[in-house]
Amino acid sequence: MKSSLKLALGLASAMVASTAVSNAAHAEDLTLCWAAWDPANALVELSKDFTKQTGIGMKFEFVPWTNYADRFLNELNSHGKLCDLIIGDSQWIGGAAENGHYVKLNDFFDKEKISMDDFVPATVVGYSEWPKNTPNYWALPAMGDVVGWTYRKDWFSKPELQKEFKAKYGWDLGPPTTFDQLKQIAEFFQKRQIDGKTVYGASIYTERGSEGITMGAMDVLYSYGFQYENPKKPYEMEGFVNSADSVKGLEFYKALYDCCTPPGASNSYMGEGVDAFKSGQVAMHMNFAFTWPGLQKDENVGGDKIGYFVNPKGPGGAQFAQLGGQGISVVSYSDKHESALKYIKWFANKDVQAKWWSLGGYSCLNAVVNDAKFPASQPYAQAFLDSMAIVKDFWAEPSYAPLLQASQKRFHDYVVAGQGSAKDALDGLVKDWTQVFQDDGKM
């Protein structure tokens, strides 16, 4: 009887003790919020090292891209404590800084000797700074990303297609360097029979609901001469947003949509693009670089069958690409700032950043991307580097959301629905954006 009692007491104590230990561990757990995509899975893997080193557990709250902005902006606006760390989209930085959602990191960076000079300049401007081009940092560049292209190297290298293409267009079929070339290739493949299947020219962004068509159209418009504002007079958009060159760029995007996309591709964004490419529907595929590791590994279209190229040049030779990607920030409403900052410090470490790249994340650290071995480290590494060198980003204003909604509507109305002209769409955009900035008291 006595021994049974002892055993029971022992078990009870063990249970109490284990609960206490587990509670103590849970008290240190950090929750990191991000989008649900391949890089997030890589981050889960990477973060195991952080837990090993510090004993701080990591929990993750990943939300599909379609709900990512809604979910987390609601969380931040309602001062929620769900996220201790957040990898927020580049456009959020202005609003998050002005509304006090993120902890300013300048003092922390100074104390920990983390220098923004060690990161790719475009990512610092895009993901960390607000106001732009000032040394006020609200995030550490976490996931470099940019719109680029993949193509079916195996189709491009078919001798009969090469011969036919050369005869038709007078130049060798290969990755395009200009948008005109891109359209010619897309036209060439549109509705062609390859291996007994009808294929199409290109998958481009046309999504209406969130940001898809804006990211796609901008990818072309920048290289045609679009500018957000007069470089000498902020918020003056007339003649810049709707310049003759911008009009030509938007006309080109519509022409590409009309001539060379798969049937029903009127609401296509990252996921739909990947599906179109993976299912062997398209010869070329516009998408953010984060999709490349997954495509490279794909049994049907990856390996030797896939190639990568940088967003082509516009008619005047200008070449830009739409910036994607995000920085990692500490949420000001979290009660665990100290642990969250430990994570940022750990994440900024060179070895961690090198592992991040090897797992499928895109490091923004110069030491990683400027390493002599980097271009050969993956088949897409050089295209990523070249793309990151020519990036431009959408308005990062606190009012980025209504600005984005306006461009979504204007572009979709013209490109997909065929309503009005490119000039009408861009004139309308100037009107909408002017209204937004007037509401903000900036004009």
């Binding site: 606006n77 002005e98 065929g418």
Partner: protein
Amino acid sequence: MLNRTAENVARATPEQLARKVRGVSDRGLAWLFISPTILLLLAINIFPLFWAIYLSFTNYRANRPNEVVKNLGFANYQRILGDQDVWIAMQTTAHFVFWTILLQTLIGFTLAWLIDRKFRGHAFWTTLILVPMMLSPAVVGNFWRFLYEPQIGLFSYVISFVSGIPPTSIQMLSNVSLAPWSIIIVDTWMWTPYVMLICLAGLRSIPEYIYEAAEVDRASNWRQFWSITLPMALPFIMLAVLFRGIENFKMFDMVNLLTGGGPGSTTEVASITLKRQAFESWRTGYSSAFAIILFVAVFGLANIYVKALNKVKQR
């Protein structure tokens, strides 16, 4: 039995509480019972309504909690009523409401009339027809999106089989002219059974002796339908129209799932515009004013309609 239960309850009630309850009037007791509901109603419906009315006169934005909230008077209302896009969205909404109600009423009443014949297996067919109504709109939206797929969708294949047009040319969700109809088709498919149920209730409520009297008078089937069936079922049909009208004026889920308002803004109904302004552009004050306008429009139209319905019932 009931009395015995009441006596047991009375006996089990502590004396102190029983004395207190005994002192409460019937009216007081009624208020006591309904007060939780009233409080919930105030908290969930009435307070948000008044709060939205207040916000509609301000420049408040939910994503700028630190910003000073300014009173704008009627500026938000003025801006909405002067905004061409809002009027286009209202026209789109009216288009959906008109066609969905027309089709659902015609098909729903016809189905109810056929089911009312009580043929062999009518119970099975009634259950089968009701299935779409029982599905979640999210399931229906995704299901039909696949059916409409130009490359793999069954809908395109069937149309192609019948018409000879290549399936890839039948782009129901991408084509500006077809996209509104793609939503009307799905909404009609889903909600016609609901109209049918209401109409069936109406048809079953018509006393059999009226038809027997008409038979005695040698009234033709058409005459019986025109003079008995339709007038007596009319209040039920009008009720179905009222319910579907209110629902379809607020139509959101189906449009959002099928087209998201596109292509362009072709299928952007008022509720989609409202959602974009409120939760994507974060113009909380502006969207509150828009919501109030929509509420007043539905409330006003429904009121006029209910008056007409009452007149029909009194005939």
